[in-house]
Subunit: 409 residues, 2 copies
C-alpha cells in the first residue's frame, strides 16, 4: 500500500558511490572508487588483546547502556590528543562521541537547518555531507574553491547574495573528493568572514593526521576565538571504521544541543567500541600506527601519480595531494566521466564520477580516485588500464571533433 512520505524524501536518493561499490564486488575488479582504509594495516591482534581485557574487566559495563556524551576516559584522551596535535584548547566537556562523523553531519543539519536555509560548502564537497544535509531541505551554496581553499571574494559575494546562510561546511585538510588543503591565510580569512556573519562552521577533519609531506597547518578550530567551529574527528581513517566511533568538539552550549539531538537519534554510540578505543589509546601507540598508514598511503599516492604521468593522455589535469586518501581528475569539459566509467568497468577498474560531489549538479567531466584501499601493484595496473581507456576516449573525441568540424564546414 502506498503511503505519503515527508517532502524531504523527494530529495534523498541512494548514493551513487554505494551503487558503484556494489559493482566493485565483481571478482578481479580494481576499485579506486571507495574511500576504504587499508584493512591489511588494521591492528587486529592488538584490538583482540584490548577487547579481551575490556570484556574481562568490565564486561557488564560495556554491554550496558552508557551516557549519551560518551565514555569519560575516551573524551579525555581525545581532548588531550587534539590539544597536543592541533594546538586547540578543548576539554572533555567539549567532546561528544558520535556514531561515525556521518552522524555528526546529520546532527549538524538537525541543529542548524530549516527548509530553505542555505549551507555554504566547497565546490566540490563531500557526498556524504550533501546526503546528510539534504534531509533538512536546504539550498547548497557552492563557493569557488581553488588549490588554496575557498575563494574569499566569492565567499563574501555568496553570503551577500544569500541572506539565509545558516551553516558552513568545509574540509580544509586533504579534502574529499579533491585532495586539496587550505593555506593558513585562507583559513584565517574564512574564519574572519564567518565571525563577521556569525555563521557556525562544521570543520570535517577525517584526514588531517594523514599528511605525507610539509608542515601541519592549524585546523580552523585552533584559530577560532569565538566558539563558532564544530570540529569533526574520527577513528575511521586513523584506526578503523567498523566500530563507528568518531567525535565532535564544540563550545559547551553548542555541544549540549548536539547531545540532546544525539539522544533522540541513537541514545549513545557503542559502549564496547568506545572502551575498546579508550583502552587501545591507553595501552598502545596510535601515533606509531598512523605513521605506518602515512608511509603506506604516500607510496600508493606516488605510484598512482607516477603511473598517471606515464599513461594519461594530455588534456587531463589532476591534483597532487599532500595527504589523505583521494585525488581529483578533470577531463576536458565535453567528456562525461560517467561514460568513461562504463568503459573503465569493462576493463575492470572502478572510480567515482565527480558530478555527485557538486550539490547543484554539473561538472560531469570530473572524477575521484582513491589510493588507500589497493596495493601499489593494483594501483599501477588500475591506472594503466584507466590510462588506456582515457587514451581511447580522447582519441575518439579528437576523431569526432574532426568529423564534426568537417560536417560543419
Amino acid at each position: 500500500m502506498d503511503v505519503r512520505m515527508a517532502n524531504r524524501m523527494r530529495e534523498l536518493k541512494a548514493s551513487e558511490i554505494r551503487e558503484i561499490l556494489k559493482l566493485t564486488q565483481r571478482p578481479g575488479m580494481i576499485s579506486l572508487a571507495g574511500g576504504l582504509p587499508a584493512a591489511e594495516l588494521f591492528p587486529v591482534e592488538r584490538v583482540e588483546d584490548v577487547t579481551k581485557q575490556v570484556l574481562g574487566e568490565e564486561g557488564r559495563h560495556v554491554l550496558q547502556y552508557s551516557p549519551t556524551e560518551g565514555d569519560p576516559r575516551l573524551r579525555e584522551l581525545i581532548a588531550g590528543r587534539m590539544n597536543a596535535r592541533w594546538g586547540t584548547s578543548v576539554g572533555p566537556d567539549d567532546i561528544l562521541i558520535t556514531s561515525g562523523s556521518q552522524q555528526a553531519l546529520d546532527l549538524s543539519g538537525k541543529l542548524f537547518l530549516d527548509p530553505g536555509d542555505a549551507v555554504l560548502c566547497e565546490s566540490p564537497t563531500y557526498l556524504g555531507a550533501i546526503n546528510a544535509f539534504k534531509a533538512y531541505e536546504p539550498q547548497f551554496v557552492e563557493v569557488k574553491t581553488d588549490n588554496d581553499g575557498m575563494d574569499i571574494t566569492d565567499l563574501e559575494r555568496s553570503i551577500a547574495a544569500n541572506p539565509k546562510v545558516r551553516l558552513a561546511y568545509v574540509i580544509p585538510d586533504f579534502q574529499n573528493p579533491s585532495g586539496r588543503s587550505w593555506s593558513l591565510e585562507r583559513r584565517r580569512a574564512f574564519l574572519d568572514v564567518m565571525v563577521r556573519h556569525a555563521i557556525p562552521v562544521v570543520e570535517d577533519n577525517p584526514y588531517g593526521e594523514l599528511r605525507f609531506e610539509g608542515e601541519p597547518l592549524p585546523p580552523l578550530k585552533a584559530l577560532d576565538a569565538h566558539g563558532l567551529v564544530i570540529f569533526l574527528g574520527t577513528f575511521s581513517k586513523i584506526f578503523c571504521p567498523g566500530l563507528r566511533i568518531a567525535w565532535l568538539a564544540a563550545a559547551p552550549a553548542l555541544r549540549e544541543k548536539y547531545v540532546m539531538a544525539k539522544q533522540g537519534a541513537d541514545l549513545h554510540s557503542s559502549s564496547l567500541g568506545q572502551r575498546q578505543i579508550a583502552v587501545y589509546l591507553d595501552r598502545f601507540d596510535l601515533d606509531a600506527d598512523i605513521e605506518i598508514l602515512r608511509q603506506t598511503y604516500r607510496r600508493r599516492r606516488d605510484v598512482m601519480l607516477r603511473t598517471m604521468e606515464e599513461t594519461f593522455p594530455s588534456g587531463i589535469s589532476y591534483t597532487r595531494p599532500k595527504g589523505g586518501l583521494f585525488l581529483w581528475v578533470e577531463l576536458p569539459g565535453d567528456v562525461n566521466a560517467r561514460d568513461v566509467l562504463a568503459h573503465s568497468l569493462d576493463q575492470g577498474v572502478a572510480f567515482v564520477p565527480g558530478g555527485s560531489f557538486y550539490p547543484n549538479g554539473g561538472h560531469e567531466n570530473t572524477l575521484r580516485l582513491n589510493f588507500s584501499a589497493m596495493s601499489e601493484e593494483r594501483i599501477e595496473e588500475g591506472i594503466r588500464r584507466l590510462g588506456r581507456v582515457l587514451g581511447e576516449v580522447m582519441a575518439e573525441r579528437a576523431g569526432t571533433g574532426r568529423v564534426e568540424a568537417l560536417a560543419g564546414s
Copy 2:
C-alpha cells in the same frame, strides 16, 4: 558567539529521565527509574568467546566499513527468528539493522513527518519516541488507551479531527511506560482503521519476548496484509544494549527508503557488533538466555507488586503487567508525582514521574516504576520506602483537605 538554530531545536529538551538517572548515581540510591536490563545476567563469557572467534577469523572484515543494510547473515537470522516466533513472513531483504531502536524512531520521523503533520500515539507513550519525533516538529495526537489497547472509537474520532495524521506509533506488547498489552481484537480493529486511512504504523516491540504468563499474541506485523507496519525489534532487552544493534522489518519499497535515510544518518551500524550477535545466535541458544530473563523479571515484578499491595496507601492504582520491564502508577488527581519524587529521593528511591510520557502534557499524578534493574531485595526495600513516602503524602493531603474544608466552612 550566539548563532541561529533551526526551529525544531526549540522543541528539543534534555530528557527528564536522563536528569533523574544522574541523581541515581548517588551511593545507596535504589533506582526504579531507568529501563536498564539486568547487567548481572548478560552472557559476558559467551560474548568474550564469540568476540575472540569473530576477531580471530574475520578481524579485518569486522573492523572495516560494511553495508548500510547490515550483515547478511544477521538479517537472515533475524528474519528466521521473527517468523518462527511471531508468525510473520519476512525475508532478509525486509530487514534493516539499526543503531538501537532509537535510530529506527528517528528515521521514521524523517521518512514520514513534515512540520505540522500529526503522529498518532498511545496515551501515555514512550518518551524516547516523543523526543525522536519532536525533531520533525509534528503535532502529537494522543489516543485514549485502556488495558486492552487503543480505544478504537477515540482513534476514529482522532483521525477524523486531524487530516494531517501521517504516522501511528504504538507498543502493543508490555508498553513503556504503562506495562499494558493490547488484546487481539484491538490489534485487528486498529489495523483495519490504519488500512482504511493508509496510515503507516511503527510497531515498537522491544519487550514482546519478555512475557511472564499467558499466551503470546501476534504482533501487528503478523496481521498486516498491506505492508503498512514497520516492526522495530532490538537486542537491547533480550541480549544486551551496549552494542547498539537493533532492526526494523518493513516491506521492501519502504525498507529501501529507510536504507537511504540511514545512509545519511550513520552509514551503517557497528560491523563488529553485528557479527558478534550473528555468531552468538549461530552458536548459542538465545532463547534459553531469554527464559532466564523472563523468570528473573517475573520474580522481580512479583516482589514489586506484593510489596506495593502491602505498603501503598489506598487511593492509588497501578497496572499488573504480564511481561516487560515497567509498571504504571496513578495517584489521586491532585497529587503531583514530581513532588513525591523529591521526598522519595530524600529516602534514597528514584522513579520517573509520568507527565513526561504525555507529549501534550498533563497527567502529573502518574509515575513509572522499573522492575528489571534491581535485585528482589532492593526492589522490596525501595517499594517499602516509597510506600512510606506515599503514606505521608496521602496523610498530609487528607489533613490539608480537612483544614481546607474547615477553612471553607
